[in-house]
Symmetry: C2
Subunit: 199 residues, 2 copies
């Protein structure tokens, strides 16, 4: 199994977390993102979107981080991280999908803009506004629940953690979101939860 | 089962399609979107994001359309629309996740802006550029495959159809995407595939 990642990418970090939680042997390949390797033909064959991460397992190529979480959870996690009963699976996927919408296009785009001055959809103010909607929804949920989807950690945590933690890098303070901050600490304290790459 | 929808909403249409394909008895509740019902406290209790659609089945409330597709497919569709083997499930979810990212924030935001002059993330040009990335990825896949994820229709089709079909409403012509246009026709020809609401 190969994980193509970039150290600043929160979506890449989601794979790093899941692979570590489930102790899946794999090769981690750090893509030369500043050098534009992700836009070169060889990489575009793996991922037509030209983005990291990509998870490759034999013939299987997954270029969406949510799909990679689904794969790892179902292949190596039994019923723990993504259970099969329809209502439970859907509740988990509700938050996984959420992590790819407001959290990505709000929190992450604000962060990316601040860090790299790349603004493909909206300006800082717009991205921050979308990001705060995401954090409001998280906070409301986490005020009354220790974990997002079910009564235990699932891939909902892995998916939503990545860009919640880095919100301040998009100049969105987490102080108004104490339940979210406490939840971030609970996630981080899970056995095998790995640190980010240094960047 | 209750489906809270709005007639112009592509995410709502995804539920309409899935409920029809699987012939699931349900009550369809047309939310007064122009009247702002989706931002009123009663609705925000169902969906903290203040968006349509919402699917309610007894105590279960799903406010993300991708999660609703997962639920319906797993509860009523056996192994057909979202199979459980990890690699197959992940391939389907790869496209379902894609439908909530570039397709939504590109194609749909361009459309919404053109139709209602609402621009929360980016301007017309930016949304169209993101939307074209989405269509390029679809087209590349559909040039060589009849269906997106597996060798048959899955919820990947249901998820991606909605905003591909309406791309022209965001002033993005589909002429450069003939394989996608042919795939839209194949989807529409599936037994029980329902028309959109009139708007």
């Amino acid at each position: 199994m190969k994980a193509y990642v970039w150290k600043q990418s929160g979506n890449s970090y989601k794979l790093r977390v899941m692979l570590a939680l489930l102790q899946v042997p794999h090769e981690e390949i750090m893509v030369d993102f500043p050098g534009g390797e992700h836009k070169q033909p060889a990489f575009l064959k793996l991922n037509p979107r030209g983005q990291v991460p990509v998870l490759v397992d034999g013939d299987l190529v997954l270029w969406d981080s949510s799909a990679a979480l689904v794969y790892l959870a179902r292949k190596y996690g039994g019923e723990q991280w993504l259970p099969t009963p329809p209502a439970e699976m859907a509740q988990v996927m509700n938050w996984v999908a959420f992590s790819g919408n407001e959290m990505l296009f709000g929190l992450q785009h604000a962060r990316r803009g601040v860090m790299r001055n790349v603004w493909t959809l909206g300006n800082l103010e717009q991205c921050q506004a979308a990001g705060r909607i995401a954090l409001d929804v998280l906070e409301q949920r986490l005020k009354k629940n220790d974990w997002l989807a079910l009564g235990r950690p699932t891939i909902a945590e892995v998916a939503c953690y990545a860009y919640a933690e880095t919100a301040p890098e998009g100049k969105i303070a987490l102080d108004p979101y104490p339940a979210t901050v406490a939840w971030l600490a609970r996630c981080k304290a899970l056995p095998q939860w790995p640190a980010r790459w240094k960047y």
